[in-house]
């Protein structure tokens, strides 16, 4: 039997993120003190250093630009053995400078990529009620 892909384990902080993803909506944590988007949300805000950032998850456009990428040809998580080769993109989201997220590019390993290419969020439904944010090239569908 093959190993399944690892599923996220939502916690107190991240639960709204995964609940929204299940509805195919990308939300990002935002600091209540300085309004900066933060990924991943931790104990403090890395922008204003508040120890009580009271992160709220807000929907974002899901658009961004490619800052880097790699083609994974050998999986270190056996759950991805059947998926290789696949592309991971390092994306700077439109909403804020240096707000960066890593996801699979669903266009496949043959897609021609350049730094600065525009991408839009997409979702992979990996289990009942569990969807993982990913990206596709171009503007939102």
């Amino acid at each position: 039997m093959s190993t399944p892909r690892p599923l996220p384990v939502p916690d107190e902080v991240s639960a709204p993120y995964w609940a929204a993803a299940a509805q195919h909506t990308l939300v990002i944590a935002r600091c209540s003190r300085c309004a900066s988007f933060v990924l991943p949300p931790g104990q403090t805000c890395p922008h204003c250093h508040s120890v009580d950032p009271r992160f709220r998850f807000e929907p974002v456009s899901g658009t961004g630009t490619v800052r880097s990428w790699t083609v994974v040809r050998q999986a270190f998580l056996p759950g991805f053995d059947a998926e290789v080769p696949f592309v991971l993109v390092d994306v700077e989201l439109t909403e804020q400078s240096e707000l960066r997220m890593i996801g699979r590019l669903l266009d496949g390993p043959a897609a021609a990529l350049r730094l600065g290419d525009r991408v839009s969020v997409a979702f992979e439904d990996v289990a009942p009620g569990v969807s993982i944010p990913a990206f596709t090239l171009g503007a939102p569908a």
Binding site: D11, S14, R73
Partner: protein, 399 residues
């Protein structure tokens, strides 16, 4: 307040020992460490009962699901002291990243503060059975929930992203990185203890190797090994009575703080910006600058770190390291080349985590490099990433 290290050149390396580096050693890691430590103590002209300090960095750097067991997959400072039957005044482990520079700092500080007179600093590296980084996890909680569900996992993809960012931004070729690998493996092939002893790598072999996580191939990664190194440190005053020429610790820096990111996400700009701050503090701590260094041993556990260190140390302009290496800038056999991988590095020795850089500084500056001896006065031993690691400046003379 000056940034110069308060104990600059007051503590010295006075002896060492290094095990043979193998894929899987016949002896357990603890036994290998005991043997290596005893030989290092004897090399320094000391007896075991004179050692009153033990320092290491115990990290077992695997992403895989391997057990961590003291004496088997790692060797702590207290395990070594216990099994040498020594009751030291001081035993400590450095927990951060940049393990050798971090451990050197702990040892130097202990000696300078009078917490210990003679310190054994060791590093024991283990290659477990099975895949080093493979991990059969089926759920991802905590920090990994942000990356593992989409398949971003393990150090190869970690280094592939900033390396590809570099390649795309500056037009770096695979031929340039081939020059790095050829240099590391040619020097490693000359070392009797190296896993790659007698086995250089040609540019053609490098270029023919398939990708694992583009643009990273197998040869861009150091190979996991069983191996142990131990060094003996003491004060400059005590070092004067010992058999070997002392090599002084002039200063050190550990990178911090790195920009908060997703797990294993190391964007190129983070590496360079935080890394430049690391090296600024390094030069300030040591009281020297890049132009005074004639033995800059850069870290190469993944080959792109060579570019990142060359640029953050100020040995070539930003974005130019790939041209620099392609033009023979790191050819240590040429009088025009900088000896940055003359000790073989991790790519030419095996995954010894900063040991090859420190050992080359010690051997060359102590005049103990044998046939490989070159003229050198100031060395730097780097480890890990410039933004998430550290470096130490060594000197043959006190200044």
């Amino acid at each position: 307040m000056s940034g110069r290290f308060g104990a600059s050149n007051q503590v010295a390396l006075v002896g060492y020992a290094h095990s043979v580096v193998q894929r899987h050693a016949a002896a357990p890691l603890g036994v290998l460490t005991l043997d290596t430590a005893r030989r290092a103590i004897a090399d320094a002209g000391l007896r075991t009962d004179q050692i009153d300090g033990f320092v290491t960095a115990p990290l077992f750097p695997t992403a895989g699901a391997h057990a961590v067991e003291d004496g088997v997959s790692t060797v702590s400072a207290t395990w070594l002291a216990d099994n040498l039957d020594v009751r030291p005044r001081y035993a400590a482990g450095f927990q951060g990243i940049g393990q050798m520079p971090g451990a050197v700092a702990v040892a130097v500080n202990a000696i300078a503060a009078g917490a210990a007179d003679y310190v054994v600093l060791h590093r024991a590296m283990h290659n477990p059975p099975g895949r080093y980084h493979g991990n059969p996890m089926t759920s991802a909680g905590g920090a990994q929930q942000w990356t593992a569900p989409q398949g971003y996992f393990g150090p190869l993809s970690m280094i592939a992203l900033p390396y590809n960012e570099y390649v795309q931004r500056y037009g770096a070729s695979r031929e340039a990185m081939a020059a790095v690998l050829v240099e590391a493996r040619r020097n490693g092939a000359r070392l009797p203890w190296s896993y790659w002893h007698g086995r250089p790598l040609s540019a053609e072999e490098y270029l023919a190797e398939p990708m694992i996580s583009d643009p990273i191939c197998r040869y861009d990664c150091d190979i996991p090994v069983d191996g142990v190194a131990a060094f003996v440190l003491t004060s400059a005053a005590r070092a004067a009575d010992l058999p070997h020429r002392p090599v002084y610790v002039s200063g050190y820096a550990t990178s911090a703080p790195a920009t908060r990111r997703l797990p294993l996400h190391w964007p190129l700009d983070d590496i360079m910006a935080v890394g430049r701050e690391t090296t600024r503090r390094l030069w300030e701590s040591a009281g020297v600058g890049p132009t005074e260094v004639d033995l800059p041993q850069v870290y190469d556990g993944f080959s792109p770190f060579v570019y990142f260190w060359l640029e953050t140390l100020g040995l070539c302009p930003p974005g130019e390291a790939h041209r620099f290496v392609l033009d023979g800038g790191i050819d240590s056999d040429s009088p025009k080349g900088l000896p940055v991988l003359s000790g073989g590095g991790a790519l030419g020795n095996g995954r010894m985590h900063g040991v090859p850089q420190m050992l080359e500084c010690y051997l060359q500056l102590a005049g103990r490099a044998g046939e490989r001896q070159r003229t050198a006065t100031i060395g730097v031993a780097c480890q890990s990433s410039p933004h998430y690691g550290g470096a130490v400046v060594y000197s043959a003379e006190r200044f």
